[in-house]
Symmetry: C2
Subunit: 339 residues, 2 copies
DNA sequence: CTGTTAGCGCTTTCAG
DNA sequence: CTGAAAGCGCTAACAG
């Protein structure tokens, strides 16, 4: 394999070849305006010709910046996180950052891994999408040696910057929609209680309903496809099954839909299903899931931008994005005589 | 935010606190056996107490290793790549590597970006899943300043290490299966001709068919859901439509299935569809796609391992994994009178 | 506008 | 087993 055997090419080599001093090479290659245009051109040309690339570690050692940031998600198997990673990655790259992937599951709970990498100077900051409400998280992230921006999920008491959707409002929208359709026996398959996402959606939903969802119609599960399937099966096995289900997110809703089909329950004729997020799959004609859309692209862009700002010292902000109901084919009026 | 204001903590600080010399701290923290057990314990304790973390850049500058590697995929929107990234990431992490994400689309064609990062010492190697057959790729990757391992897709003439599935064999299996079911009017929606994956699957398929697929029943499209939909619509609009379609991968097959449903064509009664890869979605009861499975987990593990080996100087290898037919619900005998 | 001089915080000889 | 000295390849003052 044509890998070079020799020593690494350094700025000193370029300096020698171009007949200037080493710092001038450094300046020229970074576009320092103090270097004469002629000199700069010459240096760039020789660097190009010799195939020189500055050694990132040497630079980092001085600047104390790595130009890399972490993206923390819990589960790439979940399409929602995939889309988020994709969007974050793209926007971060546009801002000149490399993205290092962290998996909450393997990378140690509570972001320990990320914080360690900040301390080593490997990353300049991180955007985390896995915040869970527990006693340590806020304190931990607040004491992190580099900025952390929360996206999608927030944390009570967190002041370090976050961009989230109006989950409360979204829950309310879903409830109003289902109520207007004529549903009365409405079930919920909510997400984990230790995520603000799940609790806020639930709160918004119940606030509009004007009462709590009966315990028998209430499920609280992890944000996974299989959990959605299982919870839906339980609900449909009830003596008086619901005519509609509001799900904590789309993956869960898709799981519920999948199970309804497996049990030959017609959607939306016999059962309405509403999700949350509007992931790509939701629009596939195999699903046509009615859902509450959160503007993931915009949120990712804003989070990336905010992290960039925080890294250069700007103040943290908390920004909330509006959501919108996307009517597709999984929700309709309840079967007659059932409401 | 409780970020420290002071100077960075260095190994010299730990040395002072522990009453030893700075190099001894360095040695102890790396587990150098020459350090006395007592001394090592003392050093570890003070480092822990003070919250010291070695500066990665300083280390890299000397060792010329970053312990980070690149993962190059083209499109995280494609579930297949997502699963691959997830698996690679996990195995790489187990080997002590961090994963930096690259997107072929934004990161410059032909892996230019990755090679630049190798030259800067930012990554020690890369596993690339986006190899396309063109005049430059092999030369480029061969001349890269750090090891490249190809996964999923291979390149003719590439000697740098690759782990792929038996795509030819898989195409043959699919053809044999469809033939035995009784199909005669078989269409193919293949992938891009500049990927070995697509061409090999197609070759294997045609070899068993004993003849070329008629041009009218042949489509060659990008590996996307929408492309699968569109191609399927075209095929079904034909005067004499096919009774079966072999798709270049699962995403395309799912697209085809989606379109068949939209056009109210019963699958598998009126149309059989066979995919390739066996992505997670294929097993969902909404799809139950019959497909040729390539062992992605094993392949990712092997690729990660191979990259690790290449980085420490081992010879490249080419490993091919067997595939297997997964019979689910999208393939059956053709409608009577149609074969 | 450019060169000289100092380090950044580690790892690695080389002594002892 | 441990310390002293050197230096990785850059960037950042500071002169000139």
């Amino acid at each position: 394999v044509g890998r070079e055997s020799g020593r690494r090419l350094t700025s000193r080599d370029i300096a020698r070849a171009a007949g200037v001093s080493q710092p001038t090479v450094s300046r020229a290659l970074r576009g320092d305006p103090r270097v004469a245009t002629e000199t700069a051109k010459l240096i760039e040309a020789t660097a190009e010709r010799l195939g020189y690339r500055p050694h990132a570690a040497a630079r980092s050692l001085i600047t104390n910046r790595s130009d890399a940031v972490g993206i923390v998600v819990s589960d790439l198997g979940n399409p929602f996180y995939t889309e988020l990673v994709d969007a974050l990655h793209e926007h971060l790259e546009q801002l000149g950052f490399r993205a290092i992937l962290f998996n909450e599951a393997t990378g140690g709970a509570g972001g320990a891994e990320v914080i360690a990498m900040m301390a080593s100077g490997i990353i300049d900051g991180a955007v985390v999408a896995t915040a869970t409400v527990d006693s340590e998280s806020v304190a931990r992230f607040s004491a992190a040696p580099a900025p952390v921006v929360l996206v999608v999920r927030d944390l009570p008491g967190w002041e370090g910057g976050s961009v989230v959707a109006d989950n409360r409002g979204g829950g309310a929208i879903a409830a109003r929609f289902l109520l207007e359709l004529g549903h009365r026996e409405i079930a919920t398959i909510g997400g984990p209680a230790n995520t603000t996402t799940a609790t806020q959606r639930d709160e918004g939903f119940r606030a509009v309903l004007g009462r709590d969802v009966q315990d028998r119609l209430r499920r609280e599960v992890p944000f996974t496809f299989v959990a959605g399937r299982d919870a839906c099966a339980e609900l449909l096995r009830l003596q008086r099954p619901p005519t509609a289900i509001f799900c904590g997110n789309d993956v869960v809703a898709l799981g519920a839909l999948d199970m309804a089909r497996e049990l030959a329950i017609a959607v939306p004729e016999e059962l309405s299903i509403v999700g949350f997020d509007d992931i790509g799959l939701a629009a596939w004609s195999s699903f046509r899931l009615t859902t509450v859309r959160q503007p993931l692209q915009e949120m990712a862009a804003r989070a990336a931008q905010m992290l960039g700002e925080r890294i250069v010292g700007d103040e943290p902000q908390r920004v909330v994005y509006p959501v919108e109901l996307i009517r597709r084919a999984t929700a309709a009026a309840p079967p007659s005589g059932r409401h």
